[in-house]
């Protein structure tokens, strides 16, 4: 792998916010907002895969969609291949669409039920290329082969496929225009393990061959470990930890990351029954009303007094290993984090 200085940032996201308004009352007046993505910054290097993991509802899909400007973002900048698209109007954006694509979480909802598979896959080709019909069909067949769909099914409609087969249609379509950057939103969640493996191997092959860059959203931590070069962990609209893959899995720093890793079920019943889990208790906060201080403070097993008032800043603990947690923001806690945290907790309890 290339070292950081030699690597080019293909995607740069700075202070991205995506807030959805909440309307209520008879007059439907604006009474608040859902802070689905709340001040996120990260880069994706050319040719790498950045994994994005986190709790359901924490804002992963919103983040992926905002980065591709499927929404008009609330605040922040998004630069792709040197071009600032964060504030670009949709008309100008259209010209840049082929270079960035998305594979959606809900395959059913994103496939037009009235179109055959061949038409669905060739739709982007119609819109953005002037290939002949023969070439288009050849490309469609090539793409169907690539994602493991039988060519004989080209004239079928989406409802004639199983859930997993439908997801592969979405992937084939996303690949049609040879994009540079693909946001994969839970692309394999609906597939069986062998086909998951096929798709992941395929994504990796395409990456090697075409230099593709992925933002890979998933809650499957074992797959993310396989495919990602670096991993970002989100919690309630914020990135709480970002690290190279091996570092994240071997030495997770943020208590939320620890809890997440400990909850992965093991495919072996004898191990599974013995496993030690960090079970998260406490209130699950809502993104329309995040808690004061650290967003994770209502459920954190290592919570301290400061966490309930001050939002932790992000610190770099090792090269490329970032986390936003008070266990590491004070220099004293960096050397003996656990004892300090425990003591802080003890004094908390005494204080109450």
């Amino acid at each position: 792998m290339l070292d950081d200085t030699a690597r080019r940032k293909l995607v740069e996201v700075k202070n991205l916010k995506m807030h959805f308004p909440i309307y209520s009352g008879v007059l439907r007046s604006r009474t608040g907002e859902v802070k689905a993505v709340d001040d996120i910054s990260f880069d994706v290097f050319e040719g790498e895969t950045l994994g994005l993991v986190g709790e359901s509802g924490c804002g992963k899909s919103t983040c992926g969609r905002a980065v591709l400007r499927l929404y008009d973002i609330t605040e922040g900048t998004v630069t792709i291949d040197g071009i600032e698209i964060g504030t670009m109007d949709q008309q100008t954006l259209r010209g840049y669409r082929p270079m960035m694509q998305m594979v959606f979480q809900d395959p059913q909802a994103s496939l037009n039920p009235r179109m055959t598979v061949a038409r669905i896959i060739s739709e982007p080709l119609e819109e953005h290329t002037d290939l002949s019909d023969v070439d288009k069909l050849a490309r469609v067949h090539e793409l169907m082969d690539a994602v493991g769909l039988n060519r004989d099914f080209a004239n079928r409609y989406p409802h004639e496929f199983s859930g997993g087969q439908r997801q592969r249609i979405g992937i084939a379509r996303a690949l049609a225009l040879n994009p540079k950057f693909i946001v994969c939103d839970e692309p394999i969640a609906a597939l069986d393990v062998s086909i998951q493996a096929q798709v992941v191997n395929l994504l990796e092959e395409l990456q090697d061959k075409l230099g593709l860059t992925y933002l890979f959203i998933s809650h499957d931590l074992s797959m993310v470990r396989h495919i990602a070069d670096r991993v970002a962990v989100m919690y309630l609209g914020k990135v709480v930890e970002l690290a190279p893959r091996d570092a994240l899995y071997a030495t997770p720093k943020h208590p939320y990351t620890e809890a997440l890793l400990s909850a992965v079920p093991d495919p072996d019943p004898s191990v599974e029954n013995r496993k030690e889990r960090v079970i998260l208790t406490g209130d699950v906060p809502s993104p329309s009303n995040p808690p004061q201080g650290c967003n994770f403070c209502t459920r954190c097993p290592k919570v301290m007094e400061i966490c309930k008032t001050v939002d932790p800043t992000t610190v770099e603990l090792a090269p490329g290993h970032f986390t936003a947690c008070h266990l590491y923001t004070q220099t004293t806690t960096m050397t003996a984090d656990n004892t300090v945290a425990q003591e802080a907790q003890k004094s908390d309890q005494q204080g109450e």
Binding site: E55, S61, G148, N150, F161
Partner: protein, 335 residues
């Protein structure tokens, strides 16, 4: 672990085909299984192997045409669900048999609020008043871990994240305390911590209410953690069935064996390339007259091309549909 006892659900020789312009698709071929009260039956198998179609056939959820149920019986509390008629079936579906669909966006109605969709069955089947139904709806949403539940009743499905929609589906399926819950990939969009909560909830409901569960999933880790028994499907058929530990420790069918080897893990060695089961899934245009797995099987021999193996008992509560015996590495004795 519950065993013995009269099954709540008994499925025999179920056959479902789709009539398409390009001919018939034999999606479900002679599938038989049963489900005991309080039991959790895990269903795994290749994408397209007929898991969803099997379960939807059971409870009359497939549009006919294009689907056609060609045979079999599905006995639930003495009644054959394939014979009782749409009205009675609809009633059972809303109250006694809960169902979580694989695709939450299509099964939630985009034009009604989430609250309405949870309250509706509560009022219709449980006779709750409007305010009672709302209270219960908030309770249910909290049970599946949706924060700020009361406010969110007013939201429409598109305002929920993928995993939240899935949990709404689970809440709806559980609303009327069903005897049987059929859950089709109910946690694909959930992260592991929330999934763990849902699995814990299942355990509780099974212990407290004796609810029996059919749980379809691709996640063998989940199966290992919650299933009592596992059924493996391939090419529209059940190819193996066993108690969970037995299946993981002693898989018999070559498909099951291959499946168990493809799983990556969060601990242990990280492989450069993931293992896959080579070859294409079968095209189900005819009723099978040979083993559906033979083209991808490393152990196939002449008989596998001529005959579709029947399920034979290979151990206590364990059966497999295969002519090959992994213990002897040779053909299984005819029988």
């Amino acid at each position: 672990m519950p065993d013995g006892g009269v099954p709540v659900l008994d499925v025999k020789d179920l056959k479902t085909v789709f009539l398409t312009r390009s001919g018939e698709v034999h999606a479900v071929n002679s599938v038989s299984f049963d489900l005991k009260p309080g039991e959790l039956l895990g269903v795994v198998g290749e994408s397209g192997s007929g898991k969803s179609v099997t379960m939807m056939s059971l409870i009359g959820l497939l549009p006919t045409p294009p689907a056609e149920i060609r045979g079999g019986s599905v006995v639930f509390e003495g009644e054959d669900l394939l014979k009782i008629g749409e009205d009675r079936l609809r009633k059972l579906r809303g109250s006694r048999i809960g169902f979580v669909f694989q695709d939450p966006m299509t099964s939630l109605n985009p034009v009604f609020t989430v609250g309405f969709q949870i309250c509706e069955p509560l009022r219709k089947h449980m006779g709750l008043s409007k305010s009672e139904a709302r209270t219960r709806a908030v309770e249910l949403l909290e049970l599946v871990g949706i924060p700020d539940a009361r406010r969110r009743l007013r939201d429409y499905p598109h305002q929920f994240s993928g995993g939240m929609r899935q949990r709404v589906m689970i809440a709806i399926a559980l609303a009327c305390d069903p005897d049987v819950l059929i859950a089709d990939e109910p946690t694909t969009a959930l992260d592991v911590t929330i999934q763990a909560q849902i699995l814990e909830l299942m355990k509780e409901l099974r212990e407290k209410l004796g609810m029996a569960v059919i749980w379809i999933t691709h996640d063998l880790g989940v199966i290992a953690g919650i299933a009592d028994r596992v059924m493996v499907m391939y090419g529209g058929q059940v190819v193996e069935q066993a108690p969970v530990r037995e299946l993981f420790a002693n898989p018999q069918h070559p498909y099951t064996r291959a499946l168990l080897q493809t799983v990556p893990s969060v601990s242990g060695e990280r492989s450069e390339k993931l293992r896959v089961i080579e070859g294409q899934p079968p095209i189900l245009v005819d009723a099978p007259s040979a083993c559906p797995f033979r083209a991808r099987c490393g152990h196939a021999f002449a008989r596998c091309d001529r005959e579709n193996p029947a399920r034979v008992t290979v151990g206590p509560g364990h059966d497999a549909a295969c002519f090959w015996n992994p213990a002897t590495e040779g053909p299984r004795d005819a029988g």
